[in-house]
Subunit: 210 residues, 2 copies
């Protein structure tokens, strides 16, 4: 089962949002994302959070059964929404609306990839990228020239890539711009990591270097 | 000596940009940021990068002496600009224009705080935050209620805070939203870390929790 989880940041284009919603079995809005979803023509199946950012209008339209109040101060609304989806049996979770706002929130939102490691296949999706955690190995099936960036959160050991333009062989990658803006040479490309939290940004565009 | 380094992302408000430029002894633009700087009424002292994003107009206006071509593929234009400023004796470096664009670039731009650890006091500045690395200890002199977020890049050990609303005592912080959206309880507040790369986001606004 696939979930679309909407975080309360900048939403993707209406077309991408529609595609993601259509591919999902369940749509979960994190608190104030409920209003943005309704404005974009998407009716969430549930809304989770402390619910202090949901308008009266959205409350009335969705009804009390879809509003799940969760006041846990130690988890963000985004974490609550993903945990709920996983608890309902979703093994694939797309997250939209994760960026574009405050820099601290945008950075922290990326951490859900690490927090839920192994519990579901999570992708953070915006109009430019889908971002995944390389949990052991990640395959990139994409047209040659597709932009790919790798960013290590901390130290990543044993990083090996295949079929990228610039490949790594059992390399140690640290938090730096070194792995940013590579590209797919042949599909499928692959990225492996032995140890550490490695984020894979797969671009939606082709940009061949000369 | 203080430098203002302009990265090629989203620029802050004209007022903040002016304040930063006035406080700086030297203004360095990373490649295409030169055009944005000129458009905002700031004339960079030098422009560094592979210079493929600098318009003919900007080249003509600044003249060849201010255009420093550096084709190193293993460093970003932002890194080159900061390294140049440090090489010229700057011990304080403000970076503006680091966010707002591609998610991979925005994340990688944060890493300059780690890359140049100990070489200069670097702040990434936008209209909401200034972001610093906690290099041993950081002081936060700000009005009570000022928003403060801590984000660990990887694992940070021995994290101790004082005079925040929610304090940590010799805690281990991992990449997560746990340290996001704290606030100053009394000034100066302080954040210490024994080991690891801890980013400190100091907000420009006061938002007292009930």
């Amino acid at each position: 089962m696939r979930a679309l989880v909407l975080a309360d940041g900048e939403f993707p284009s209406p077309q991408l949002l529609r595609e993601l919603a259509e591919a999902a079995d369940v749509v979960v809005a994190a608190d104030g994302a409920a209003d943005k979803a309704l404005a974009a023509g998407i009716e969430p199946d549930v809304v989770i959070g402390d619910l202090d950012s949901v308008s009266g209008e959205a409350r009335a339209r969705l009804g009390p059964d879809r509003l799940l109040e969760d006041d846990d101060r130690y988890r963000t609304d985004l974490e609550k929404a993903i945990a709920w989806a996983i608890g309902r049996g979703c093994t694939a979770v797309d997250v939209a609306g994760f960026g574009g706002g405050r820099a601290d929130h945008a950075l922290a939102n990326l951490s859900v990839l690490v927090l839920f490691r192994g519990q579901a296949s999570i992708r953070l999706v915006d109009d430019q990228f889908e971002v995944r955690l390389v949990d052991g190995e990640a395959r990139v099936e994409a047209e040659p020239g597709t932009v790919v960036s790798l960013v290590a959160i901390g130290t990543c050991r044993g990083v090996t890539t295949e079929n990228l333009r610039w490949n790594l062989h059992d390399a140690t990658l640290r938090f730096s711009p070194l792995g940013v803006h590579n590209e797919v040479e042949a599909s499928p490309a692959s990225v492996r990591v032995r140890e550490g939290d490695l984020l894979l940004f797969q671009g939606r565009w082709v940009e061949r270097h000369e």
